[in-house]
């Protein structure tokens, strides 16, 4: 028995959950703007926010903390969390597999390969490309790498206008291994400092967030999140299989293309902004499915809200627990997510007796 109304219609419970999640996100965001290692009091943060950026009524360092550090980070965290969770839910629906993640359509391996290439070869043979871009070379490379590898995979898996999800999956594994090999070769070429840069980039984090990055990457992710409900009915139908989705009246191919474009854009932009942040894309949709419902009309917006709240919370912890240093955010998302997920899984298993 799945919880919800007695007749099995969980729409009301799902609407209620969305409202609760929206409230949660708001709460977490407010708290996250309020806390940090510098210990500004909450009323001071509110006053700084009210005064606007670039005010001269407060010390410039306080204004910078609230307006240039915390606010863009909280917004970026919310957008990335939403984008990753929605991308995860979309891919899982597309692959009909609750364990699918963006690595499967080439997004993360492609982004990682391009980023490592820029880190290692940026002063060498790639210098003419990399130097003019300055600090934007890495995010731009990650984004382009993600899109290129996804496009390549999509082309491989599409024959006669039909994309084979199974081929996509297998080719994704092969391409992942191949770009892993090239990445390994770059690691071999890299010096000590580059190695460390690569390690930290791989762990991901919002430490480098600026308004500029937010304005560059945010709209892509936001567009993907806002467009995702268009896919909801299609993903629901796809739960029964591709044939059934067609029988139910869906343009399956158009939907697959849209889903892949959406995921590549969202994850590519997130990787560009904050490196690879794992776990959010798998855990958030799964959690909502276990706890509330699998209907994608609920799951997609629900994942966006919960993913946003989770990442904002994780980043607030990353900024404060080791202060004045900062923990990589991937550690926090896994540390919060994994035990809760396991607990839910075990409880659920007991309930179903399987």
């Amino acid at each position: 028995m799945l919880r919800g109304a007695a007749n099995g219609d969980r729409a009301a419970a799902e609407r209620m959950t969305l409202a609760v999640l929206a409230g949660l996100l708001l709460l977490v965001a407010v708290v996250a703007i309020g806390v940090g290692p510098s210990g500004l009091s909450p009323d001071r943060v509110v006053a700084l926010l009210a005064a606007g950026p670039g005010t001269d009524r407060f010390p410039v360092s306080e204004s910078i903390i609230v307006w240039q550090i915390r606010l863009p980070r909280v917004l970026m965290g919310a957008i990335i969390g939403a984008a990753l969770a929605v991308a995860g839910a979309t891919l899982q629906g597309l692959f009909r597999n609750p364990l699918a993640d963006p690595g499967l359509v080439g997004v993360s391996p492609g982004a990682a390969l391009a980023a490592v290439a820029v880190i290692v070869l940026g002063n060498g043979i790639l210098a003419p490309l990399v130097q003019p871009l300055g600090i934007f070379a890495l995010p731009i490379a990650a984004f382009v790498g993600a899109l290129l590898s996804t496009f390549l995979l999509y082309t491989i898996a599409t024959r006669g206008g039909r994309t084979s999800v199974a081929t996509l999956l297998l080719a994704g594994i092969a391409l992942g291994a191949f770009s892993g090999a090239i990445t390994g070769f770059f690691l071999f070429l890299s010096d000590d400092d580059q190695l460390r840069d690569i390690t930290f980039w791989t762990l991901g984090g919002l430490g480098g967030t600026t308004w500029l990055k937010l304005f560059a990457c945010g709209p892509i992710m936001l567009a993907a999140v806002l467009a995702s409900p268009v896919l909801a009915r299609g993903l629901n139908a796809l739960t029964l299989g591709e044939s059934e989705a067609f029988h139910l009246g869906l343009e399956v191919q158009r939907m697959k293309t849209l889903a892949i474009v959406l995921v590549a854009g969202a994850v590519g932009a997130s990787v560009a902004a904050a490196g690879i942040i794992g776990f959010v894309g798998i855990i958030v949709p799964h959690l909502l499915r276990l706890a509330v419902g699998a209907d994608h009309r609920f799951l997609l917006p629900g994942s966006a809200l919960l993913g946003a709240a989770l990442l904002v919370l994780a980043d607030a912890l990353a900024r404060t627990v080791a202060a004045p240093a900062e923990l990589p955010i991937g550690i926090i998302t896994a540390a919060i997510g994994a035990p809760f997920f396991l607990w839910l899984l075990l409880r659920r298993r007991g309930l179903l007796g399987v």
Partner: protein, 262 residues
């Protein structure tokens, strides 16, 4: 209502269907029978508009089927496939409501819920709405999907004409009573003016409900006639490569057949 003209389907070099040509008028229940690998499911996929024929043409209500969009097709025909796995933990209610999702109709949420509950009752799954569809038995799941398909197709005839219901082995997991119930529903749909094409293995069950039977062999039509004529003829024995014993049930009714060796 449905005409096939020299339809062929190839898998690589191998011909798996055709060429076949026949016409199916509205208001009938047609059973497709034949040995494994005879092309029954392929034929059904062609009729569903899912597999486009590589030769010939399928005309649905006077139009080339290839010209129908997926959503327009979904309003005129529904398909129950074999062995359906639901990938995520949907409730039975949610699975059935997918029938309303693909081709949107002007129904309120309340109306949909009422229809879904009525349909669940009709397939003998009253009170199953809140169950996780992944935990149902094979037969229960088959009936839940039947309810979904019936929700999708709605009335047998509307202002645009009769509709098409395609069922691929709809009774494979069902006990004998639910087999009969399911085929009764299919026959009701035909009586109301719709067209039903159903793939079945049980010759006697098929003969009891069908108005017409198509016997297939190696992708071709071996026999296309009324049930009594089919079961009384010798083609059945040849196609299935087994001698049949026939038990007569009186004039005008098809005989009961069973393999001779039993």
């Amino acid at each position: 209502m449905l005409e096939l003209d020299a339809v062929e389907v190839l898998a690589g070099e191998r011909r798996i269907l055709g060429p076949v040509s026949f016409g199916l008028p509205a208001g009938g229940l047609v059973a497709i029978v034949g040995p494994n690998g005879a092309g029954k499911s392929t034929l059904l996929k062609v009729l569903a508009g899912e597999t486009p024929p590589m030769g010939g043409e399928v005309r649905f209500q006077g139009e080339d089927m290839a010209a129908f969009s997926a959503s327009r097709l979904a309003r005129r025909r529904a398909v129950l496939s074999q062995s359906l796995e639901v990938a995520f933990p949907f409730t039975v209610f949610e699975v059935v409501s997918l029938g309303f999702d693909g081709a949107p109709r002007a129904l309120t949420a309340g109306q949909k819920a009422a229809r879904i509950e009525a349909m669940l009752e009709r397939v003998d799954l009253a009170g199953f709405g809140s169950r996780n569809v992944q935990t149902l038995s094979g037969g229960e799941r088959q009936r839940a999907h039947l309810a979904r398909v019936l929700c999708q197709i709605g009335e047998a005839v509307d202002e645009e004409g009769p509709k098409l219901l395609l069922l691929d082995e709809p009774v494979s997991s069902l006990d004998i009573r639910h087999q009969v119930d399911t085929l009764r529903m299919a026959r009701d749909f035909a009586r109301e003016g719709g067209l039903v094409v159903v793939v079945l293995h049980d010759l006697n069950l098929a003969a009891s409900f069908a108005d017409r039977m198509i016997l297939m062999r190696n992708g071709r039509i071996a026999e296309d006639c009324d049930p009594a004529a089919l079961l009384n003829g010798q083609t059945v024995d040849e196609v299935f490569a087994i001698a049949m014993t026939r038990i007569d049930r009186g004039p005008g009714r098809p005989p009961v057949v069973m393999p001779h060796a039993v």
